[in-house]
Symmetry: C2
DNA sequence: CGCCAAATGTAGCCACGTCTACACTTTTGT
DNA sequence: ACAAAAGTGTAGACGTGGCTACATTTGGCG
């Protein structure tokens, strides 16, 4: 993972995209989990670890470690054997991530990608869409009606 | 990384996108390095480890490990203290990856993303673009002239 | 030719994300 | 109320991708 001691100090222009991609990847997991937890809370009133794990397609210890990282980074809170909840920051991230996810799917569909492929690919693509790109996507979609 | 023992055996539909993204990420590094090595060979006749490292934005031991993985997976060959070369499979991957990279950048630009952001974001996005999506991108671009 | 700088190899550290296996707690059902 | 089932915690293993530090080889140059 991007242990990111610094690394960027004199990277050639060519390397910029790679460094960005590495950074994006390191937050992708946080984004997916916060969005998922937010979804579960809205749908079932709480986010149980088992449900998180099942829907993320991982085993429960993997989800537990992810939640531990969310807590460490101030995005979530939880007490032993109880559900997981998002902090204010976590909720904000979830909202941002959900919007971007939807925009990406819509953009893909708008340019002709089949809905099913759009959903699947968007799950990975979304984490690499910068604000500039997101803005362009929104403008493109708006100009389409 | 996707240690992928199997995992997918009874994943709910919701998890499919996440599993795909994890798999894509596990080959992203191979794709970027093969493309870079191919670039260097075309530009300088050979791909030296130091150049690979510098252009990828990592230290040379990191690049060395990546090359070791490329060799292990049958994508590259090299002898100690000499340059790195791609196998037939490696060359094929590089060609495929380069095409997809270009199509992604073109698509982004076509929908209004600034060129600079398009280049940077494409470096991450490309690895999550399925064949179906790539085909749709190409069709969209063609229909634009 | 021989030396020195640059390139490459290698060892070893760390953080992460995944898993299995097992321990413990909570909930459920009779 | 208690036993069984389900959920959760935790330890430990593994592969990966970063890094630093140091050893070795190559190659160019005086
Ligand atoms: Mn995602
Ligand atoms: Mn998403
Ligand atoms: Mn890339
Ligand atoms: Mn690329």
């Amino acid at each position: 993972m991007p242990q990111d001691t610094h690394g960027d100090h004199e990277a050639p222009a060519r390397a910029e995209g790679f460094n960005h991609a590495r950074t994006a990847q390191s937050v992708a997991l946080l984004e997916d989990y916060t969005e998922m937890i937010d979804d579960l809370i809205h749908e079932h009133g709480e986010a149980r670890l088992t449900d998180i794990a099942r829907l993320m397609g991982v085993t429960h210890p993997t989800a537990a470690k992810a939640v531990a990282r969310l807590k460490r980074e101030g995005l979530a809170v939880s007490r032993p054997y109880r559900g997981v909840f998002l902090t204010e920051i976590g909720v904000a991230m979830a909202a941002r991530v959900r919007l971007r996810h939807r925009v990406v799917v819509d953009l893909l569909v708008a340019v002709g990608v089949p809905a099913e492929a759009a959903e699947i690919d968007a799950e990975g693509i979304e984490h690499h869409v910068s604000d500039a790109t997101l803005g362009a996507f929104e403008a493109f979609l708006k100009a389409r009606g």
